[in-house]
Symmetry: C2
Subunit: 615 residues, 2 copies
């Protein structure tokens, strides 16, 4: 085997943060126009250079007067003054107000010389260029003095202010169009791995190609954190190619992130490139996931190596890197970047290193937030959407008890628990119905998994098929059946008539995983078939491929369509969808069962209504 870089002296998470703090990511300040200023952060204080308003301004439609002339006026005994002119907003007064005179003004007009107050039009009546005033006013009434809003020389906004529409309004009022703002760090993202292909390009499964997940995921997370992502083409494990790409990225960016170095050889190459082209401050952190994290410099730029699995990469990015990008951009972490909740289940730990546990959120029947571990393994990209954030568990924690309060650092600000969390059988009716339910989360992990998670109090609803029955009390939302059987190639060339034809035969069969209700239905049928002489289990062993199950309901049929198998356990719906042959074996019941404490949730009610229409 290739020599492996051993992470003997793993840094603590605190040491990793300290190493990151040593790096300088902050770009130079820049100047942007008002139209581009939203969301940016002021680099320096902005003082008013003008008075707002810049003149004594009528703040009502009415008549500008010398206040003293109105003294004593009342409805019964109005004061009558000649109107000597008019001033509209946006024009220079061509009259002044002498003693015993008035001038009509509109809101926003410059106060004519001589006047010191405005009488609102509602308290006057005008005829023949004479105005009767039914009220007395004091000097300054209905006038906004020059500088009363903002005065020239005043501090308007301080450095570090985030520019929302309101601050943009104040800058507009001051006439500031060139806004000095903090720079946003440019962050280069380089995925490594010979097996990667850009989304949109064709994939060769036989060569073990997979789509590059990290590049776009991390780029979006960089943008979320206030940085400017720059994607570079992914590179393989070739030293020269990787070195050239990392050096280019370092020249163009304030921070370079690489990810995808899942193979030991790639880690070695990245390691050597950083040592040759810069400085390695830290390699290996005592955190799971994140052990192979690298921190260093390439040229003048900062460098962080992220793990290769998408959830791991995003977790390490969110925990260690995003805070530094925010610091560099001058933006605060949103208040909605974390939530509190209680653990739904006990979480064992005791691994001797810090754990960044991917978790999902669900709202219980009282509206409280429950937190449950997402335990698919970090290699699963679906964990990305099944998990909402991360709970950090200290290295010296043995376990966290069910009910324990935890803080979840969310993968994105403002992530909320789904309106509905359902777990269970992968089923085409459920899949379609979810389109009619706002904000659902469905984990098609199988009927048995649903029942197990229900026992832990996690899902709102479980979907079970076949003979599988929860031990816990539930409330049935809907029940329907689906026709199951054997999916065979079009025209059923092998002439398979039923399960007996698979016994001791060469037909390559594809089963479902043991969590599936459909597999339980198959096993029950095999037991029936076996009769008294034999066990169903013994029959199963005579089917070629029985032991190998796939998770999703359509997958066996797809294997048949691909020619990778001759017979698949499946549904008539799948066979028809893929234009395959079908040997019916029966109707299987499917039920959506709610946790009785969650039946009041909007999402559960929406699912019930939607299933009622679909089934």
């Amino acid at each position: 085997m290739t020599d492996r870089k051993e992470f003997r002296d793993l840094a603590t998470p605190a040491e990793a943060r300290a190493a990151l703090d040593e790096l300088d990511l902050a770009p130079e300040p820049e100047t942007v126009s008002l139209a581009e200023a939203r969301g940016r952060v002021l680099a320096e204080r902005v003082d008013a250079t003008i008075d707002v308003p810049g003149f004594d301004r009528a703040s009502m439609d009415g008549y500008a007067v010398r206040a003293a002339d109105t003294f004593g006026a009342s409805e019964r005994d109005p004061v009558v003054l000649p109107r000597v002119g008019v001033v509209h907003a946006g024009e220079k007064p061509r009259v002044s107000v002498g003693e015993g005179e008035c001038v009509e003004v509109s809101t926003g007009a410059v106060m004519p010389d001589g006047a010191d107050a405005v009488v609102p039009v509602e308290r006057t009546s005008e005829s023949d260029d004479e105005v009767a005033f039914e009220t007395a006013v004091a000097p300054g009434d209905s006038v906004m003095a020059a500088g009363a809003d903002v005065a020239a020389g005043e501090r308007a906004l301080g450095p570090g202010t985030e520019l929302t529409p309101r601050e943009i309004g104040l800058l507009s009022a001051l006439g500031v169009d060139d806004v000095p703002v903090r720079g946003r760090p440019t962050v280069g993202v380089v995925s490594t791995g010979d097996e990667l292909v850009r989304p949109g390009d064709a994939l060769d499964h036989r060569r073990g190609q997979i789509y590059d997940v990290n590049s776009d995921t991390i780029a979006a997370a960089v943008a979320d954190a206030g940085g400017i992502p720059r994607l570079y083409p992914h590179v393989g494990d070739d030293y020269d190619e990787l070195e050239s790409q990392l050096r280019t990225a370092a020249d163009e960016c304030d921070l370079v992130l690489s990810s995808g170095s899942t193979s030991a050889s790639a880690v070695d190459v990245v390691y050597r490139v950083v040592e040759d082209a810069g400085e390695l401050l830290l390699h290996g952190v005592s955190v799971k996931p994140g052990k192979p994290m690298l921190v260093g410099r390439i040229g003048d730029s900062a460098y962080v190596g992220l793990p290769g699995y998408p959830v791991s990469a995003l977790t390490v990015f969110r925990t260690f890197v995003a805070p530094r990008i925010r610091d560099a951009a001058g933006v605060r972490e949103p208040a909605s970047a974390s939530v509190s909740g209680r653990l739904a289940v006990r979480v064992r730990h005791g691994e001797g290193r810090t754990r960044l546990l991917a978790v999902g959120l669900v709202t219980d029947g009282r509206g409280e937030t429950l937190v449950y571990p997402v335990d698919k393994g970090s290699g699963a990209t679906t964990s990305l959407v099944d998990a909402d954030g991360v709970v950090e568990i200290d290295a010296d924690t043995d376990y966290l008890a069910a009910g324990e309060a935890v803080t979840v650092e969310l993968f994105s600000p403002d992530v909320r628990p789904p309106a509905l969390l359902a777990v269970g059988e992968d089923d085409p009716t459920v899949s379609r119905t979810l389109d009619d339910v706002p904000d659902p989360r469905y984990l098609g992990a199988g009927s048995r998994t649903g029942v197990r998670r229900l026992r832990d109090g996690v899902p709102d609803v479980v979907v079970v098929s076949g003979p599988i029955e929860p031990d816990d009390p539930t409330e049935e939302l809907a029940a329907w059946t689906r026709e199951w059987g054997l999916v065979v190639p079009t025209g059923n060339p092998a002439g398979i008539g039923g399960l007996r034809d698979l016994l001791d035969a060469d037909h390559r069969f594809v089963n479902r995983t043991t969590a599936s209700g459909l597999r339980a239905t198959l096993d029950a049928r095999l037991d029936e078939l076996a009769g008294d002489d034999e066990t169903g289990r013994a029959l199963a062993e005579r089917i070629r491929g029985y032991e190998h199950g796939v998770r999703a309901h359509e997958s066996p049929a797809r294997r048949v369509a691909d020619g990778a198998a001759d017979v698949g356990l499946g549904l008539r719906a799948s066979a028809e969808r893929l234009d395959l042959g079908f040997v019916p074996l029966g109707d299987e019941p499917v039920r959506a069962l709610a946790n009785p404490e969650r039946t009041g949730k909007d999402g559960v009610r929406a699912l019930e209504r939607a299933l009622d229409e679909r089934t």
Copy 2:
């Protein structure tokens, strides 16, 4: 006067919302690339068209084997198998695994034919192309089956899903680069008013020009709500010009917003244009501010007329328009768009129409959020940054009691109370010092205003100068003095030696407002000067301009610099900054005094430290 459009039959806020709901703002869906998909909303469900992984995939570095060959292996009694080849990630296997053989694999590699499990390298030792296995494995161990993560045909993401980095990761894994998303409504913004000037252009105060605040403010708020703002040049009250601008905007946008129709004539013009070019659904809403709001259609586009004052325009936009833009874009209001708090003071109402009260937030000594009205009047642009959001008060509410719980609809999501709220004297030392305090809010409304607000329990700190003293207990954070006197033109051409020279003289004097501590200092000096024969008040009446005060400390000096005044009450610091003459009259004390219940706040401690360094 011009005929005025009377709003006799004002609609209720509920009717206004219903009229807005009638309008169709939603643009057609569109397709964007993954790199542009962040923050967008899926227009339709996305099903997986491929298995992820697309092949049985080694999930550890190690050796691919037939699991049965390892049965019985242990550390003491390892099973030894010949290594017949190697498969790296991203390459097509060129070997298969026969009975009693093994093949080296790296993480991510395609499982070679024949093998059904991987033994991690850590549990093996290799020498001379033979591998000793120290553990038994079961079929499927350390292998991720094709489709185990996502299976072809599975529902991956539902319609309406907001695309965060995680969903972008899942789309990447599925190879989806063309993402079907909801369109974002294009929103045209047209400000009206002859007096408006674009920020960045020169302003003519004499003509009563002011900068156009609403255009950029509303445009930024449109972007916040998920729309695409499009700014149009502001127009005056001319019918043809306004009609042409509104029609152009309606042709190009899904929604047209106008604002700034503060004068009655402009309202009339807008009203007529909408009636001629489209349909007016509603004019006038029984809400303050927002009475002149218009809702209608121009051509095929929706139209809303906003009030002219910036805070009013933003308030009406936030309350009525932003939710519709979000609906059209398919985005939810962020959870952080509103906060709860308790009113710091009693708020009178009883106006017979709904009130949208602009309020500020402050954190009290226990960390609770207090809400206080921002009562500057909607004409003040500084209200934009002094207010954090809006409390809606029903038409039939007479008053809200101090301590009452209210919900504040924030002007922007994630607005938080400032770290420090200070109110009081406008002072250059304070102004500079605030740069060293993170996230402060300072209302330079004068010493007396500070003392009054302190009585209401609003600010953390008050800054008072001169003889002004709070009635309430305070804790002194810092005390310093500032030299005050008369600011005169450079060289003091009138030879003013002191206050006596202003009595019965022609010198045009500029005072500070009565809220100012400096004015109190001046009044005390006039009392001393008056002696026994006369009152200070009588002396004051003999100073030309004594009655007219300006709010900010530098404003009198600026009036002198502009030639609009001959003498200003001010500070040596201002005179020096503006290169003016100065006649010293004494040293005035300035003190920063904390509410004793708030001395533990970070912001208060930061101000104390910063003042300690500056003074």
